[in-house]
Amino acid sequence: MDTSTLPKASQLALHAARNPRWQPGAPLPLHSEIFAPAAQGCGAGAALAFLQDALRAANDESTMPEERSLLWVQDARAIKLGGRPYRAGLPEGLRHRLIHVAAKTPEDALFAMEEGLRCRDLAAVVGEVAGNPRALDFTASRRLTLTAEKHGVPLLLVRLDAEADLSSARMRWRLASAPSSSPRWNIAAPGRPAWRAELFRARSHPPGEWILRDEPQGLAAERVQATTAPDHGDLVRGPGARSLAAR
């Protein structure tokens, strides 16, 4: 038996081998949650950036260009606080593929998201729900995860102005805007979007904090070193250190 292809015992023992740090181009889990303030566009912007990053990786593998539609579900409060998607401001490849659902209540928004996840003709479902509605509890979140994983349609749920309560999302981000990089031709102008992103719970990655930049060639990330707590990096955490909920 050829043992050279198998991983070494020392590799398996290392936490980093089993749980590598998140980096751009890492596979997008089928259910992610992004917590963002409602008065900024950073939640939706980052959701689309993650999605495009994943689609780009998938596109490199297949020869067929991706032409499936994108379902964007908003509840009434999210529309009131943050507005509707604007076609001319969307990323170039997604403009003609957007289908927008304006649900009145969070219950309707959950229904629309679940129906969208059941439809394999959709590239992804983006949801925007404001606050912590009663309907979006752990059961509803678990339902969404199971549907997404059954049909393989990724869900990016943007939670506007929400507390991180119980959820079964595979990756949970907390986002805020960050100063953008200067454009080349006009230093005084705002440049390409940048976000300060904290990954505070993920199944396959240790938590961390990054400055994400949406560059034309893809998502760029640079690590922010936490100043308060020392970075234990590759040390294995105890089972009690990561609760199901948050933090």
Binding site: L48, G82, G83, Y86, G89, H100, V101, C119, P179, A189
Partner: protein, 520 residues
């Protein structure tokens, strides 16, 4: 063969009132009126009213002076036209195809048909008898061309027959020029020229020395009139069969329909679902036989007490999948009040589209394999409404909120001119721009700081202005231009704000500032 319903509107009114000619409400003077810009005008007056002096086309005020006791009812031209369409279909009992001849006539092709009824005279008698049995006063005529039949039906004695070997110009010479189906202004011109009968016109056409010089003169007079109803020469040629006159036949479209009469009235939802499932399966079979798919479905529920409940469903794409129909109807049947029970159900596909036959799903159900996009959209629109599920498409406008238009998700995108790529637009646009208070160095300078929703933003970086002028062809003259700025504050919040107007544009006082969009 031309059939002219001389009194169509009144015959329909009598039918609705369930009275015969000259009896009951019809005995008193009565007129059907239509509202016009100059007041009510009489569309049709009954016999008693005509005796008293009222006439069709007269203003109601004039008729009232002649006959103060005149009763009025509103006329119904749309209903008349719909009735005419049904009459034209029914008239296909006398010939292979028929056409409607608005406002009150029907044309039937009876070529080589008359012998089935025992000759042309008996055919016309049959028409007369059957129509009068339905309370319709008709006048009919048979001629080799549609124009000649129309002329004879309207202006000759009833039952006129023009055989192909008759001398057509001679037989028609005594009819007035109105028999040419011309517009009233053309009739006025002809009357002023002294041409009152078809014979006069034919005489002029031939000219004094039979060289056709008169025809040239008429041709010059009407050289700008290309429409056949405005040019007497074209009408004359059509009447005599020298040029063809295409007619548009009526073709009946039968909507696929299935129904179930129930032995025992049902009052429970479970049974109702079973019957709807049966109906959907029947409908799928019917549609499959025709190679069509349904776009709109109507489910009628007849209750024991005579009440009819109708539930309508519109689909994003043509379909004939019974499971899909059942699922969509299940949501619509929640609020049905069965009362004493439902005894009949009828499912009708009011709008169908061709849909090719496809292979049935050989694998397991949709639950395992997901739904198609069209089915997903149907489920969403059925629960959330048509307005909730939409796709943004560009529209030709400079104003940002107007440059985006919403349309149903599966419609094809309209053709568009490419947008200019060097303008950066925000990812999200607020439904209504929100007013902000801005601190600026100079009224026309960059904003320094603004507060929105109780938060203060120190502007760190700014780009602008992008000036968008008001669209004068859509808006009022007082609309002000907009100067858009992209701003970013120290923490990286990026917004799209604009100043509505200039301080010096003379369209109001100091301009207000608004926040319209959020960047990613």
């Amino acid at each position: 063969m031309a059939i002219w319903c001389a009194d169509l509107a009144l015959d329909r009114w009598r039918h609705a009132e369930n009275c015969r000619r000259g009896e009951g409400p019809d005995a008193a003077p009565l007129a059907l009126i239509a509202e016009t810009a100059h007041g009510p005008r009489i569309d049709a007056a009954n016999h008693a009213a005509r005796e008293a002096g009222a006439a069709n086309g007269m203003m109601l005020a004039d008729a009232r002076t002649l006959c103060p006791s005149l009763e009025v009812r509103p006329s119904d031209p749309a209903g008349d036209l719909a009735f005419l369409e049904r009459l034209a279909l029914w008239a296909q009992r006398w010939g292979p195809w028929s056409a409607i001849d608005p406002p009150d006539g029907v044309l039937v092709d009876v070529t080589a048909v008359a012998h089935l009824f025992g000759g042309e005279r008996r055919l016309l008698a049959d028409v007369e008898a059957r129509c009068s049995a339905r309370g319709l006063k008709v006048r009919s005529a048979i001629a080799p061309t549609a124009g000649a039949a129309w002329a004879l039906a309207h202006y000759a004695a009833s039952g006129a027959i023009l055989a192909p070997d008759d001398d057509m110009p001679a037989r028609l010479a005594d009819l007035p020029v109105a028999a040419l189906r011309l517009d009233t202004d053309v009739l006025l011109v002809l009357r002023r020229l002294g041409l009152k009968r078809l014979g006069d016109l034919a005489g002029i056409e031939e000219g004094r020395d039979r060289k056709g010089s008169g025809r040239d003169a008429l041709q010059r007079r009407f050289r700008n009139r290309k429409s056949s109803s405005a040019n007497p020469l074209i009408r004359m040629d059509q009447l005599l069969g020298r040029v063809p006159e295409p007619l548009l036949p009526v073709v009946p479209v039968i909507a696929p329909m299935v129904q179930r009469r129930l032995l025992e009235p049902i009052r429970h939802r479970q049974l109702l679902d079973t019957v709807v499932a049966d109906l959907a399966a029947d409908m799928a079979r019917t549609l499959e036989a025709k190679g069509e798919g349904a776009r709109r479905l109507q489910l009628g529920l007849w209750r024991v007490d005579g009440e009819v409940l109708v539930r309508e469903l519109e689909l994003a794409a043509a379909t004939r999948d019974p499971a899909h129909m059942i699922r969509l109807f299940a949501e619509r049947l929640d609020d049905v009040d069965a009362g004493f029970g439902i005894e009949m159900l009828r499912l009708r596909a009011a709008w169908t589209q061709p849909l090719g036959l496809d292979q049935a799903d050989l694998e397991a159900a949709a639950e395992q394999h997901g739904t198609s996009l069209a089915a997903c959209m149907d489920r969403l629109t059925t629960r959330l409404g048509q307005q909730a599920v939409q796709r943004p498409v560009p529209r030709a406008s400079h104003i940002p909120e107007r440059a985006q238009h919403w349309q149903p998700p599966l419609e094809p995108e309209p053709a568009e001119q490419h947008q200019l790529a060097f303008h950066t637009r925000p990812l999200k646009l607020l439904d209504r721009p929100e007013r902000i208070s801005v601190l600026y160095a100079a009224p026309e300078g960059y904003p320094r700081r603004f507060s929105w929703r109780g938060q203060v933003c120190e502007v760190a970086r700014v780009e602008g202005p992008e000036r968008i002028a008001p669209e004068w062809w859509r808006e009022r003259g007082t609309a002000r231009l907009r100067d858009y700025y992209r701003v970013e504050d120290e923490t990286g919040r990026r917004y799209w704000i604009y100043r509505n107007g200039l301080p010096t544009d003379g369209r109001g006082g100091m301009p207000d500032w608004y926040l319209q969009g959020l960047f990613g």
